[in-house]
């Protein structure tokens, strides 16, 4: 259950919707339809073929904002022709993460595969990922390998992977692939907020799940040179900053703000000390802009620490009755005598 700050004491709301879909299929392929989707009928045909050949029951679920209504409209014909295609329309224009969350709620597969609405990996990758999950990993991630696209793409990818790896400590080789397969329970257990769907594997590791990378051939449609507008890169950097802060300081914000505040205050105090020495030697300091700088730094430092304290308060009050850790489920044996007690 996702954490909502407003209700720490309430137990996770049971999923009691009477018409809630039960996992009745082997696989749901969940396609969030975002900006500039490929023609979806062709996309469906391409990816459905190898999945059908693998003998599994499946559905394709396209989650789309109202703005993408035109893109998903042709899918109605497929559905009418009896193909396992559904559209989960969001009610307002939301981002990819919200689409995925909405789609997950609608999905019926025991394993859920996220697939971008454009070509990233060869269609054969989807059953390969499902295989990996069926063999026991919690999350399987497609890694586009070997790469065949232009050097500029690979460079961007390498930088992104290196930065994510460095910041999160996770050994990831293709953060951008966007093709993941997860057991349904695992997917439902991973808190997805903001813009973090692209970091799904990292968040899964954080929740203590096993993540496995599966090499997947690059789709020919993925070979074009990708250079984005500067705004896209700025957003990525902000995403990463947010992710880093979340992973590192979520339950200890004062460690971050305290350090920043301490550093600022230290410089400020040093400045003031220099001025004090000068005053002792007879100079006037009341007219020095340096005095202003020293006080400003000190003020900023105090503010940073105060913000950190606010963070600590929020953490303290939202920690009540919640647990961060996850216990590894016991192997399937008849209830051992050491079963955990009723939770309090």
């Amino acid at each position: 259950m996702s954490s909502s700050l407003a209700r720490p004491a309430a137990p996770p709301a049971p999923r009691v919707e009477p018409d809630a879909p039960r996992p009745t299929l082997d696989v749901t392929v969940l396609v969030p339809v975002t900006e500039r989707p490929a023609p979806l009928v062709e996309l469906y045909r391409a990816y459905a073929a190898p999945l059908r050949a693998s003998g599994r029951s499946f559905e394709f679920l396209f989650a789309a904002s109202p703005a993408r209504r035109d893109a998903v409209a042709p899918l109605a014909e497929l559905a009418a022709a009896g193909e396992p295609v559904r559209v989960a329309p969001a009610e307002r224009n939301v981002g990819e993460t919200a689409l995925v969350r909405e789609g997950l709620r609608e999905s019926r597969g025991r394993i859920v595969v996220t697939l971008p609405a454009y070509y990233r990996v060869a269609p054969e990758a989807v059953p390969a990922l499902v295989d990996a999950v069926e063999r026991g990993t919690d999350v399987a991630v497609a890694r586009r390998w070997p790469r065949r696209d232009p050097a500029i793409n690979r460079l961007q990818n390498r930088v992104l992977n290196a930065v994510v790896g460095r910041l999160t400590g996770a050994a990831v080789h293709d953060v951008g692939s966007g093709v993941h397969a997860l057991r349904r329970e695992v997917f439902e257990d991973i808190p997805l907020h903001g813009d973090f769907v692209r970091f799904l594997p990292v968040l899964a590791l954080q929740r203590g799940y096993a993540v496995q990378e599966v090499d997947a051939a690059q789709h020919p449609g993925d070979l074009g040179t990708r250079v984005y507008a500067p705004g896209v890169y700025i957003r990525r950097v902000l995403d990463l900053l947010g992710l880093y802060f979340l992973l590192r300081f979520l339950d200890k914000p004062l460690r971050f703000f305290g350090l920043v505040g301490f550093a600022l205050s230290l410089v400020g105090a040093g400045t003031l000390f220099v001025l004090l020495v000068r005053k002792a030697s007879g100079e006037t300091i009341g007219d020095k802009p340096l005095l202003l700088l020293g006080i400003l730094l000190l003020t900023l430092g105090v503010q940073a620490v105060a913000l950190g304290l606010i963070g600590e308060m929020i953490v303290h009050f939202s920690a009540a009755g919640r647990r961060i850790y996850r216990v590894r489920p016991a192997p399937a044996t008849p209830a051992p005598p050491g079963a955990p007690p009723p939770s309090r």
């Binding site: 003020t299 105060a306 647990r323 216990v327 050491g338 079963a339 955990p340 009723p342």
Partner: protein
């Protein structure tokens, strides 16, 4: 979240739970279990809760074997390495005893001290902490920093414990039920217990052995972290019910500073030479101080929101109404 499952109906109520977080302690575990078993031979019903904190060595397998061989030994396996605080919390959550004892898994604590902790608890305390006497550790990198840190912690939190770093402690269940540990708060558990559960706390000396296996998992580099945590604990323990007081105090101090600067400025512009800069710099300083005061006051109000919002807004979970946009 621990999976709730009913305890066996035929079992005796468990008197005592010993909780031991384990991280890469495969060599120590068998000896540890034996030592606990020997030390508690005279107790009718006890359990040993081993918490494997995502060890990378064979700890889980070893512990699993030991748990299978003795029904009183239980194993809780965490999904990854969460750190000692969460491992302890997991152990507390799974412990069934009326009294819970926590200790380290590296055999530096001696289970033979457990009966003495329990005897002390029976004198009417809620938490008995052990302090390591004749500590077998390096002087310069372990003992001296630890001594200084403990004095500071005692002074700041007001809970006079000589050795916050000693894991060997005994708690009444009621105290643990009122604690939710996060971050690295296990180090300040007595202070938290005093603040949130009103626990009566005392301490007794316990034995301390040199490390037999493996390496110590701490270093000297913790000062910044512990300082930040200590500040957080201070705020939580002193101001959790009225955070505005704390921020308002800061705001008052800043305002006072601002007033002092204004006074100095008024004084100097009357007496001294009328330098043009003086007319700008000192008032600037005063304005900064006043703005800090405003900022702190506003933060205090936000802190009040953080305190009250969970309870004031969160009476009932909203119904899963159709047509409601996804949360």
């Amino acid at each position: 979240m621990p999976v709730p499952a009913p305890a066996g109906p035929t079992e005796l109520p468990t008197e005592l739970s010993v909780v031991v977080p384990l991280y890469n302690e495969q060599e120590s575990v068998p000896a540890l279990v034996d030592a606990v078993r020997d030390a508690l031979a005279s107790y009718a019903s006890w359990e040993l809760v081993l918490v494997d904190d995502g060890s990378r060595d064979g700890t889980a397998a070893v512990a699993e074997r030991l748990a299978a061989a003795d029904a009183r030994v239980r194993l809780v396996r965490l999904a990854r390495n969460y750190g000692q605080t969460q491992a302890m919390q997991a152990g507390f959550d799974h412990a069934r005893g009326e009294v819970v004892v926590s200790m380290d898994g590296d055999l530096q604590n001696d289970p033979l001290d457990i009966p003495r902790l329990l005897a002390k608890l029976d004198e009417g305390y809620d938490l008995v902490a052990g302090y390591r006497k004749g500590r077998n550790d390096k002087m310069l990198t372990r003992k001296v920093p630890s001594f200084v840190a403990n004095r500071i912690i005692a002074w700041v939190t007001g809970v006079r414990i000589r050795d916050n770093g000693c894991s060997l402690k005994a708690y009444r269940r009621a105290v643990l039920q009122r604690l939710d540990l996060y971050s690295d708060m296990h180090r300040f558990l007595p202070a938290l217990a005093a603040a949130t559960a009103n626990a009566r706390i005392t301490e007794i000396p316990v034995r301390h052995h040199a490390r037999r296996f493996g390496t110590s998992k701490y270093g000297l580099s913790r000062i910044a972290k512990v300082s930040a945590d200590l500040l957080a604990i201070k705020m939580i323990t002193s101001f959790r019910d009225h955070p505005l007081t704390m921020f308002a105090t800061g705001a008052a101090a800043a305002s006072l500073g601002g007033v002092a600067v204004v006074a100095a400025w008024a004084l100097s512009s009357q007496v001294g030479s009328a330098a043009v800069e003086r007319a700008y710099v000192l008032p600037g300083v005063a304005l900064l101080a006043f703005s800090l005061a405003c900022f702190l006051l506003m933060l205090g109000l936000i802190a009040t929101v953080a305190l009250h919002a969970p309870r004031a807004l969160g009476g009932e979970p909203a119904p899963p109404a159709a047509g409601r946009p996804p949360a």
